[in-house]
Amino acid sequence: MKPVVLAIAVVTAAVSLGAQSRAVTSDRILKASAEPQNWLTYSGNYNGQRYSALDQITPANVKNLELQWVFQVRTLGAADKFEATPLVVDGIMYTVSPPNDVVALDAVSGRVFWRYDYANAPAARVCCGRVNRGLAILGDRLFMGTIDGKVIALNAKTGAVEWQKQIDRPEAGFSITVAPLVVKDKIILGPAGGEYGIRGYIMALDPKDGNELWRFWTIPEPGQPGSETWTGPAWQKGGGPIWTTGTYDPDLNLMYWGVGNPGPDWNGDGRPGDNLYTDSVVALDPDTGKLKWHYQYTPHDEFDYDATQVPVLADIQFNGQPRKVLMQANRNGVFYVIDRTNGQFLLAKPFTKVSWVDGWDAKGRPNRVQNPTQEGTLVYPNNQGATNWYSPSFSPRTGLFYIPTWADTFSTYRKTPGPESVRFTEGQMYTGQFPTMALPAMVGGTTNNRRPQDGYGLIQAVDPKTGTQRWAFRMDDVTDSGVLSTASDLVFAGGREGYFFALDAKTGSLLWKSMVGGQVASGPMTYAVNGKQYVAISAGNNTFVYALRQN
């Protein structure tokens, strides 16, 4: 019961503050769990659990949720998605909608304090629609990456630009879609562009002026550790993009980032070797960018299985021992548990139908049994993956890991053998042949008349001790929704069908639903103002905010 008491005490404290924002110090971010009325980073706090101590909304009263307000953004392009998780600081919500529009809202009423619209350069190239996953805040400054390769710092009180920095060249396919992560006095992020033959990196910027403080290349150059996993000049266009926010363990002083696919995506003949650190999680010292350890989920990937999913941190009992673990539900269809102190492999278990691997050795190296072929190879899961950038959640109360899942999907991968079939031209996609998919990859269709065997969606709960499924809530369509869990044992999520719903975190029973009329393609989050708990979800062209009906 202790967390409940804590939450109420903190919410009460917020009453006296009202909607008056204070500067967000790095110490506040470090202790974000102590102020659950706020949402200070992309995942809510450093551990990436997307678990909130707020408990005013319960399984018993969730049926009384009603819409409080809607914020409508500019009409999105057909392949664009509203993927950002908002930040909430002392009653003020900051969010970013495609392509790079930022707004500060009264979190109680939805009314606008200020708005900043950024016009991207025409050279901006994105593989998969114009998206942005959110902002970071430090002090009175908001930080946003842009799809034309910039980072822009805005004054949180006025929306004025304080500095902007061109990080990399949009005409070469570099874009920034990730929500930056603030660690101590640094802004951490990296570029997307794994379909354009980029060489990826994770970098630290000075929040004062945007100057680069360190850079970790996700593709090592010849002579560096890991370069032995590349052949010839392939590393120069080796991919390894960064597009989902990492996590941080302050006790170990280590950050964890998931790295994206190698390039070209679907033909690895020109890059013999494991291709580190693509499709890996890397543990970095945030002060220096130095690599402490890594684990590669999909060596020599030819299925586009980016490992960018949020690496979720928790301290759990594993095989009877207390362990500091990192858990990841990977795009490749497998749920992993890793010791985050040293990278030791603890568990790998498929969470849906998976055909590319039939086992792992003691060190966690997968035994891959499929590759693209000239005739075509049918592979489960499909190219979009069994899950993707949509955040999972871990509840320390239930001990369950909640995964938004594309279930039983498949792609046929074809390639013309030999590296010469994939030519590189700067600014053009550098991928090989797009695999077949039975489902639309980027945006859900207007209608769904597919058969169950073409794939479906799940919100499923997995026991991280064993990797076994505890429950699953099944949807006819797949889901691009993140998951939120709360201290009152609720799970919030949605899907492409346009429903936003609450499930019982212990059983998966549907407790409440609301039709929002557009694809849910963002992570739900919760906050409180003046003692009242709110739940927010972005879907279609709007952000919807719910709270309990008064009386």
Partner: protein, 290 residues
């Protein structure tokens, strides 16, 4: 061996496809070679497929294999591909004009064609028997009784798909579909590899073209409704019944719902393996030499 499999074979029907285009064939300014189409196909796969999908319909409201909404002439489409569409999710592309025109060539070649979006799981290379087209024609029209449901190029029954090689106009309707059919209609022909054809004969239920899928609901009050599934979600169903009326159901009101099995019987045990190979050879021969 063609590298692009199913799509590549369809592309051979380019001349016929352009003539039958649902859009405006007059808008095509240039003539294209098969090399142009293949080059455009490769560029499309690498640069366009992730959003627009293999069937050209991946972006809601955009059906590249049916019609162009923002441009009509080849040169305008090529310019649009190069420049992108400002203010939308369509980015600019670093293509030369010649490259962009090959993409147009590929798109033109696909007009009226709906490639299968649900690839059948491969079942190996089939029986491996060499079929005889002439014997296959005899089986098709005689012992197999295939003509009681299937036509060849419009000549014959319409219960099942026309198995002739010409791409039909988009939106071909089957008996379960009532007018309009499913999204984008269907190719109306089985997948054109020997193994896939063999599979269609032996396991006809494994993959049914969208317009021929019959959806059935049975209400708790005992009413049975059949027709074309238009939309569904976790809680509800929207369909067009066999009388052509729009119908909606809450799943909580239903005893059961789902697609009916294919109306076509399996020929496993009804035809000898050699006879199946002969029918496959006959159907492939209708498409001309590969």
């Amino acid at each position: 061996m063609r590298i692009h499999g199913t799509l590549g074979l369809f592309a051979l029907g380019v001349a016929a496809a352009v003539l039958l285009a649902a859009g405006s064939p007059r808008a095509q300014q240039h003539s294209y070679t098969q090399q142009d189409i293949d080059a455009g196909h490769a560029l499309y796969d690498a640069n366009c497929g992730r959003c627009h999908n293999n069937d050209g319909a991946g972006v809601p409201g955009v059906e590249l294999f049916k019609q162009f909404k923002r441009a009509n002439s080849d040169d305008d489409i090529a310019k649009l591909i190069q420049a992108g569409i400002p203010g939308t999710s369509m980015p600019s592309h670093q293509f030369s004009t010649a490259q962009a025109l090959t993409v147009v060539a590929y798109l033109r070649s696909m007009v009226g064609v709906t490639p299968t979006t649900t690839p059948a799981p491969p079942t190996g290379s089939g029986s491996g028997l060499v079929g005889d087209p002439a014997r296959g024609k005899t089986v098709f029209e005689g012992k197999g009784g295939c003509t009681s449901c299937h036509a060849i190029n419009g000549a014959g029954a319409t219960t099942g798909p026309d198995l002739g090689p010409a791409p039909p106009r988009a939106g071909g309707a089957g008996p379960g579909a009532a007018p309009g059919g499913g999204r984008g209609g269907g190719r109306g022909a089985p997948p054109p590899t020997a193994a896939a054809l063999e599979r269609s004969i032996l396991e006809p239920d494994a993959d049914v073209a969208v317009p021929y899928r019959v959806f059935q609901v049975v209400t708790k009050s005992g009413q049975t409704v059949r027709g074309a599934l238009l939309n569904q979600d976790t809680f509800s169903i929207q369909m067009r019944d066999q009388a052509g009326d729009l119908r909606a159901f809450q799943k909580t009101d239903l005893k059961e719902h789902g697609f009916l099995p294919s109306a076509m019987p399996s020929y496993r045990g009804r035809l000898a393996a050699q006879e199946v190979a002969d029918v496959v050879a006959y159907l492939l021969s209708l498409r001309g030499p590969r």
